[in-house]
Amino acid sequence: MRKVILIGSPNSGKSLLFNRLTGMHQKVANFPGITVDMASGPMQSLPDVTIVDYPGTYSLQPISGEEEVAVEHFKHALDDPQVVHVLCLIDATRLEKSVYFMLQVIRECESHGKRVVVLANMMDILKKHQISIDLEGLAREIKAPVIGISARTGIGFNDLVESLNSDINLDEKSVDSGIAEVPDAFLRGTAHQLARRYGPKGDILIKSQTRLDDFFLHSVFGGISFFVIMYLLFQSIFTLAAPAMEGVESALGWVSDWVVPAIGSQMARDFTADALFSGIGAFLVFVPQIFVLTFVIGILEDSGYMARAALICHKPLRVFGLTGKSFIPMLSGVACAIPAIYAARSIDSPRKRLLTYMAIPLMPCSARLPVYTLLIAAFIPQVTAFGGLLGMQGLAMFAIYFFGMASGLVVTGLVSRMSEDHYADLPFVLEMPPYRIPAWQPLIRNSWNRSKHFVTKAGKIIFAVTVVVWILGYFPNFGQDLAASWLGYLGLWIEPLFAPLGLDWRYGVAVLTSFLAREVFVGTLGTMFGIEGAEENMVPLVAQIQASGLSIASGLALLVFFAIALMCVSTMAIMARESESNTLTLKLFAAYGLAAYGLAVLTYNVATLFS
């Protein structure tokens, strides 16, 4: 088995090339720093070759955590005797950005006796604009093969395969470009000359890019369009996902009507109706929303707008001790905190990365969505205007999302002012990717994978918790009286803790179980209210909550509690790993838990005064 390393600068199309060569589905986006972990897979056309994809980096002299990881692993991999080739991907349309890195890679590989094949990507764009580039001249200068390819269209793939097959038997001595001992400063000068001499002759920057930037980065319209785009993102969660949610509800109802009456045993029938269709079914209804959210964020990334959003946010975020680069992890945190914490690696300043870690758990992640949707549906009237574009429930969702984000900023602002700066701070340098029409197929695939991951990750926990809750609520009196069940006794025991929020024991139990995963709250309530049948998902559960006498003050207190508390075990595990600090994670868990409880009590009391 041969290994081939794939390395390149950020946003050079590396993940797309990896997917094309391996047939795998790594996340692809038009934003620098999307690949934060290594991936590997066999090459489709050469099954004995494994391609290893490394995170993008501008240089082998790292200045960020992400680059350090990539460079360290890359240098270590060059010692592996199975590694025969290194594919160095450069952006043919912007050679000056890639050539210095390419020379560094060639120099490093030469010292390890590895062969480099340079892949000049995006040849399709050069062809489209009828712009020439002298790849043969570049190859002669660097004494390494340079192949023009397009990861998007597949141009040059045959030449690449041929190159990987043709020179595997060359010995290490044949690897000599003459730059093994060249110092960095000289290499930079050489790179500059090479880019000028052999780079594309002509203007590739599309005029439409500047025109779009004139609008999206305009001092007035830029800010307005930013807020409109963010609002539409949240409203789309309701508008676009609603038909699919109704579809899931109907399908569950049909299956339930068909399955439950056919079960002979009363206990099995109760279990299927209450634990499966009420508990898990209520959670499945929210999967379309997760899909839509991931899809819309994907559009923003792939279109190139995300980098503009980071730029717009930079100055305001600096007030809170963060950087514009924190915006991407924080926005990703709206989908899920786990990929958001990974994405924070691309923040080069360790201090700002740490502050971003603190903000991410307060971002309104998709696991909170079922809880918010349920509570908003129960307490906020369904009034709409402008053909459904503006709605009370959408505005309430916007407000609670805003509250979570604002809380994150307040925390980082306070911490950045209170704590001493142990790190040398790093300024903001961000590549502006060109605007592109999003690649719909990978976007849909990625949204599907995220939804699937959400279901499989949370589904197991929800199933286990739902079964436990059902057993506790069903025995010892076989579901005759919930208040006299084991769950009832447990709820009554902890009720004093939730009494200051105006919540009875059932909500207390649901909150406790949601510490495993927030969305469990909905399933637990479904089970606790003993809703039966298919129609027993969203609407009946909302009706039950309204009928339970829960006040709007308690509903608001619950919303605030869920907005602040750090309740996801998986997030805590990833944060401890990425920050290399169990203490930080435990401190955040305790601090956010106490703050959530205190603010919820405050909200309940204030809201009670006005209701």
Binding site: Y58, S59, Q61, I63, T93, R94, E96, K97, Y100, F101, D184, R188, H192, A195, G199, P200, D203, I204, L205, Q209, T210, D213, D214, L217, H218, S219, V220, G222, G223, A307, L311, I312, H314, K315, P316, G324, A424, L426, P427, F428, V429, L430, E431, M432
Partner: protein, 82 residues
């Protein structure tokens, strides 16, 4: 006369002269790696409001640099936007 890159207005073109000594080495190296070499022609293409990082074009690439970096790059103005 050399001025700072940050002081450019949208549409201005300049040639990079040198870097201030106060710019950290790692960042001087990084901006050079990205194409901001002494002698290179750079133009300012966007200057969003509220002191947000400005967008500069170097060859066929656009980068946004904030004041902390751009203020330390010394340039000579070639053409000013009318």
């Amino acid at each position: 006369m050399a001025i700072s890159l940050w002081s450019l207005k949208v549409g201005d073109r300049c040639r990079i002269e040198c870097f201030d000594d106060t710019l950290a080495d790692s960042y001087r190296v990084r901006v050079m790696e990205l194409g901001f070499h002494p002698g290179e022609v750079v133009s300012c293409v966007q200057a969003p409001a509220f002191g947000a990082p400005k967008v500069y074009r170097v060859s066929n690439t656009m980068f946004s640099l904030d004041e902390e970096v751009a203020a330390h790059i010394r340039v000579v103005l070639l053409t000013a936007n009318a």
